[in-house]
């Protein structure tokens, strides 16, 4: 055990502790307040907005980050974005939006900045003791809460591959989150690794700024544009859900066919998964840059050799800069792993319905999910459910017990069949199925209590 200050924990009674003041934390605070809870939100940085705030240290934003999900599919359900904004707002607008949300609902007064939570621990059954990491020279503060919602995000710990011979490479090696300034690519020979949205966007930046851009991916993906059939792509695809199932798959195939054909024609591997299984790539410029030769598409890296990088197909390149856009590792350092259902071999949490701790009823996580659609609305409904649950638990233990059973059975449904290739997709859910599960959970919570 760590040494904590000897002074007794300050008891905040039934108040709820929210960890993190990114989008998920802010939405949690708002929905908890709306349900009558006292809330203290702790943010380790000095600003709100989480990864959308470039002032947040380690923010993963790169030059020209824009949303990949469209405005109507990304906005918080009860606080829409201004309707004169473009379909795909910039990171700067996203931050403006989150600041507006916090101001509108008076959230700032509940946030404690510069307060990293180093540890939480269950005490007295279902209550929590929360330890705030000490600022230089002062003692750690300890407080007690009725419940904890973790909203620390999952884009803070870079996932970095290593290849044979890489340690002898003398060029610049960066993770996508370290790029920040596009001028670092200007005039250089750039190798971008990774076929997620970061890798694709950065390859497109390099296509216009760098001297040469080579892009390496290790398998097939869905390369979709931001518009399909004259509409924002996510909206166009979501709308098809209004149709009967068989027409839907017919129409979906029809609008995706051209893009699949094009990427096949350009020699790219076919995706090994359906477009709703994991986040598709959403960038219409990518295939055009491949088409005009400003991006050279390559398979996986085989090894480094001196200043040279060799790919699985035998081709080589001499890059000045290698950008690893190879994603992030989810890490919730302040919560004992067992409380999140993390078991021996995997570092990925196993939560009930992707939000409730399997161990303690008063611990939940918001936003630890990749739904392939806008994340904020999903977090809104998650925290709506969590707040209602905490309310019922206080007032009606019998209903709470029934609800618990339902959540356990719901949860079985979101075991994603991993393609086996990449552990990264363990946070992925099919949005349609997950939302249907949330509907059932919320309906149970909002039923009139049995008389």
């Amino acid at each position: 055990m760590q040494e904590y200050s000897s002074q007794a924990a300050y008891d905040r009674g039934e108040a709820v502790c929210v960890i993190g003041a990114g989008a998920s934390g802010l939405i949690a605070v708002k929905n908890l307040r709306e349900n009558g809870f006292e809330v203290d939100c702790y943010e380790r940085d000095t600003v709100l907005g989480g990864l959308w705030n470039p002032q947040n240290q380690h923010s993963p934003l790169y030059p020209n980050t824009h949303l990949v999900t469209s405005r109507s599919q990304t906005e918080i359900p009860d606080y829409p974005m201004p309707d004169h904004w473009p379909d795909y707002p910039s990171a700067a607008r996203m931050l403006e939006y989150l600041k507006g949300y916090a101001a509108h609902f008076g959230l700032a007064e509940h946030i404690w900045y510069g307060s990293e939570i180093s540890h939480i621990e269950p005490v007295e059954g279902s209550r929590f003791e929360v330890v705030v990491k000490p600022a230089a020279g002062s003692a750690a503060r300890r407080l007690r809460y009725g419940a904890v919602i973790v909203a620390t995000g999952h884009h803070w710990v870079p996932n970095l591959p290593s290849y044979p011979g890489q340690d002898l490479f003398r060029g610049t090696v960066l993770h996508s989150s370290q790029l920040k300034d596009g001028s670092r690519l200007r005039g250089k020979s750039v190798l971008v690794v990774g076929g997620g949205n970061s890798g694709i966007d950065i390859a497109c930046e390099a296509a216009v700024n760098a001297d040469r851009c080579v892009h390496s991916v290790r398998r097939g993906y869905w390369y979709l544009p931001k518009y399909l059939g004259g509409e924002p792509a996510d909206y166009a695809l979501a709308r098809l859900h209004n149709r009967p199932r068989w027409i839907r798959s017919l129409l979906t195939n029809r609008i995706l066919k051209g893009h699949r054909h094009l990427s096949a024609r350009m020699g790219m591997e076919a995706p090994d998964h359906s477009h709703t299984d994991e986040e598709p790539i959403r960038n219409g410029r990518y295939l055009e840059h491949v088409g005009d030769g400003s991006i050279e598409h390559r398979p996986e890296i085989a090894h480094f050799e001196g200043g040279e990088v060799a790919f699985a197909d035998g081709e080589t390149v001499r890059p000045d800069v290698v950008v690893f856009a190879t994603g992030y590792k989810p890490k919730i350092g302040c919560v004992p792993a067992g409380l999140l259902g993390v078991d021996g071999e995997s570092e990925y949490p196993k939560l009930l319905a992707r939000m409730f701790s399997p161990r303690v009823e008063t611990l939940a996580v918001a936003g630890l999910i990749e739904p392939g659609v806008g994340v904020l609305p999903i977090v809104h409904w998650q925290t709506h459910a969590i707040s209602h649950w905490l309310n019922i638990r206080k007032g009606d233990p019998e209903r709470a017990a029934n609800f618990r059973q339902q959540v356990v059975s719901e949860s079985a449904q979101y075991e994603v069949d991993s393609t086996g290739i990449s552990p990264r997709h363990r946070l992925a859910v099919d949005a349609e199925e997950y939302l249907a599960g949330l509907v059932r959970i919320i309906d149970t919570l909002e039923q009139e209590p049995a008389k």
Partner: protein
Amino acid sequence: MSLQAWVRRTRTPEPAAVEREIAVIEPADLFDFEAQDDPDASPVLCCTGDGAGAAAFGVLWLKRIAGSGRYAAAVSVRGQGNTPAAPGGVEAYVHDVVQAAIAIPRRAVLVGHGRGAAWTALAAARYPADALVLVAPQKLPKSLPKPVGDPRVLLVVSESEAQSKQTQAVTDAYGVAPLTFPGASEDVFKGPGAEGLLDAILSWLNRKD
């Protein structure tokens, strides 16, 4: 708003964006040293079914609301006042009210008059209003949606309407008793009773319960 209602909305085309006329008077604009400015009091956003739109509130309402220390705003939905007409019907009017609400710096009280009361009641099912005030409502939807965020609700009707079926339906839906005023629906903007009515609404808003 239920999750299902939200899903349906995200799969329906959004009404065309229009540049909306929004009239605003803040307490500080009044140059009246007597007026109290209460930064904690929620702003008020008004909307009427009357074709004049925001202008209908200009003469009396906005000044008096601002005089009570609150940020006072009124919106003209598409086709009213100086807001250009655009298609979309009731759905689009509700969209206009919600868009006007999120443009206000803090969580607002929604006040709707006449047909505007129907739009604000629908808007309150999408936007967590601080309170919902329905003044002489007309053409309310048959089944009133549950407001989000559990706001306090005030229903204000003319004495002649106090016993009507619609009034009964609204009081049942929200579990509130109506406040009545003498005269007709248009009398809320001018005439001898208007100031008293407005003051009654403001004092209800100021009640802390």
